[in-house]
Point group: C2
Chain length 397, copies 2
């Protein structure tokens, strides 16, 4: 059984803050500060260029990918980190389309994170080969899977509502029609058990700055099922995905296996933070995290519905049907969230009217849930949110 008091002690949590936004940016693992400082001073500073070998920088994308792969049930040697989630979506999509040359439909849903849809649009336009992006309501995905679909691209957990897709069932259905699947695990990895192997998923991508706590701008990951990787000619054929990057051949030859999904020089300082953040999982079990998350989110829903009139639950009521967040809708959600933040309860807002609260048992417990609801109730009762300073939209919401 995971000792959540022990995991909480691994994080730096600012005084006076109840942090319910780990679904957007996880907090600082204390060891990450040390690890990054070491990468800067002892590695970059002292080893200089020799750090690529001596400090093992060059091998890190594969090694870190492997550690993430174990958290999401990926086959050994099928996961690598690098770039951003947006770029990894592009790689997966370009690969998927190339493996289904006769088909033209990318099927997704309106609950997918916009950058995934934007990347599909950009790829389709650049290819100019008659592909279309078909976007349906989340509950209509299954009904729209047919033989025209090249790739089914979904984010497992809806970023606004937390609604959870059935990865196993949709993957099986898509594959039954000859389509491939891309699962975006942005809100899944580190939040709930994922088993890509059991689901027989084709591609998975995700970021590491949410529930994996690797810091702002942390690198992303991509997993490709071993049955596909040798058949992929990467569209983003960068030198570090080459079979022999330091031979400096003039022609591209894809690297062995998942290494070919590497692109350019990996972000060494961000990788140091990621390495430290992944150490947390040496002491935490994802099944325990999931069970505790459902308890905490259920409690939050019960308490809010009892104490906070005017808020409408926007997440599935069934804990097993959602990720590790709870969303409530309110027409003045933006201002209410700003008022909450001013009182030390940090969640976030997603247009048009969604207040999101993420619950990460690694550092959030029942005490924080009760305290957050008490503050929310007080803000609503006092109408604290109804002030001009809480209504001015910031650049980043």
């Amino acid at each position: 059984m995971t000792d959540f008091a022990a995991t909480k002690a691994l994080f730096h949590l600012p005084q006076g803050v109840i942090y319910l936004d780990g679904n957007s940016l996880g907090p600082l693992p204390k060891s990450a500060a040390t690890r990054v400082s070491k990468a800067v001073s002892d590695e970059w500073g002292e080893m200089l260029i020799t750090g690529w070998n001596k400090a093992g920088w060059m091998a890190q994308p594969g090694a870190l990918g492997e550690r993430i792969g174990r958290l999401i049930g990926a086959a050994a040697g099928s996961t690598v980190i690098g770039d951003t989630l947006t770029i990894k979506v592009f790689q997966a999509l370009a690969s998927g389309l190339s493996l289904r040359p006769g088909r033209k439909v990318i099927l997704s849903d309106t609950g997918n994170f916009p950058t995934d849809l934007y990347m599909a649009e950009g790829l389709i336009k650049a290819l100019d080969q008659g592909h279309v992006l078909k976007t349906v309501a989340p509950e209509d995905v299954a009904a729209n899977i047919d033989e025209t679909v090249a790739v089914l691209m979904l984010t497992q957990v809806d970023y606004r509502t937390g609604r959870l897709h059935d990865m196993n069932a949709l993957t099986a259905q898509a594959q039954g029609c000859g389509a491939l699947t891309i699962w975006d695990l942005a809100h899944s990895a580190g939040a709930l058990p994922v088993d890509l192997t059991a689901a027989n998923a084709d591609f998975a991508v995700g970021c590491t700055y949410k529930y994996l706590n690797a810091g702002p701008g942390a690198p992303a990951f991509i997993s490709v099922a071993p049955r596909h990787i040798d058949h992929i000619a990467p569209a983003l054929s960068g030198w570090l995905g080459h079979a022999a990057p330091f031979a400096f051949d003039l022609d591209y030859r894809p690297g062995a296996g998942i290494e070919r999904m590497r692109v350019g020089t990996p972000p060494v300082l961000q990788m140091a933070a990621l390495a430290a953040a992944l150490d947390v999982w040496d002491t935490a079990d994802i099944a325990d995290v999931r069970a505790r998350s459902i308890e905490l989110t259920d409690l939050f829903v019960t308490l809010v519905e009892a104490a906070c009139p005017g808020l409408t639950l926007a997440s599935p009521r069934d804990g097993y049907a959602r990720g590790s967040q709870i969303s409530f809708a309110h027409p003045d959600g933006y201002a209410i969230m700003q008022a909450l933040i001013s009182r030390g309860v940090i969640g976030d807002f997603r247009a048009p009217d969604i207040m999101r609260f993420g619950f990460t048992p690694l550092y959030i417990g029942e005490e924080e849930v009760r305290a957050a609801v008490a503050i929310l109730a007080e803000i609503l009762e006092s109408r604290l949110w109804d002030r001009p300073e809480f209504k001015t939209r910031a650049a980043v919401t």
Copy 2:
């Protein structure tokens, strides 16, 4: 006049090392260690998600791009940082081809860095629209510019020999034939004066971990001439290049100007190092750096040729015809470079037989040049390099 003793004091240089590899990875600016630590502990640690606004993370790619833009003569508001140089090459190429729909040739040279050529190959294959990559010898580029060329893509300074292309002349010639130009400034930015505006260049890309000293895996940059930017529909249409990323629209609309060349979440920790590294240029003038670099490289060539028989100069003898490096060829170049590194003189090796030595006046002076040559001469005379341990190839050369 730049005070090079003062700029040298801004860097951490390990004891007993003469660092002649700043053309591959610049050394640690002392202030970068402090700045990164602040980004980790004071920003990520204390501000958490609010750092995107409070610490200005979201605006940093444009602000840092602007500072780099000033170093390379880019128009105001035409440069942004992010991703890796490899990705930025892809963006520039995809944009360039889309602006010249009737033309099919990407012209480059065999002295271009392989990842640039690989990305062209990958793009061409993905597009499947009949484009070809034509790669000629560096000295034959001008003779191969004609009306079939869509994009002329060159690295200004040859990564092996240091040979410098004439950016102004080749750009004018290419544009005279209706082609667009992409200049890779990997070995130019921070090494020599570049004036993209005077050259009328269409696109420029570059990395920041070489002569800009921003650390291993530092983000890249892209500049797009203002006359083009509004006509570009980005192939990598990520959410942070969207006109309103936090509106979470389902459809992509490109952001204003150069902002559309942003893709995903920027690497906040690496940006902190870059911000500190760029401060060095507040006290250094690039014209002074260039003049001193030519003095130092000329001195190095003279001393090596006098003291080190068996080495063949692989760089242009004329200082104005090369970048800020000197390359010498030797059949046992790999082993000789390993022996040099074992004696504290760090350069690097590029297959098949090139030893590269980078000279960065910001922290390298005449004393280091003389000491390095003395050690090189001693290694050659004693045949120290002729030992098995210096002949085993490392993963990264």
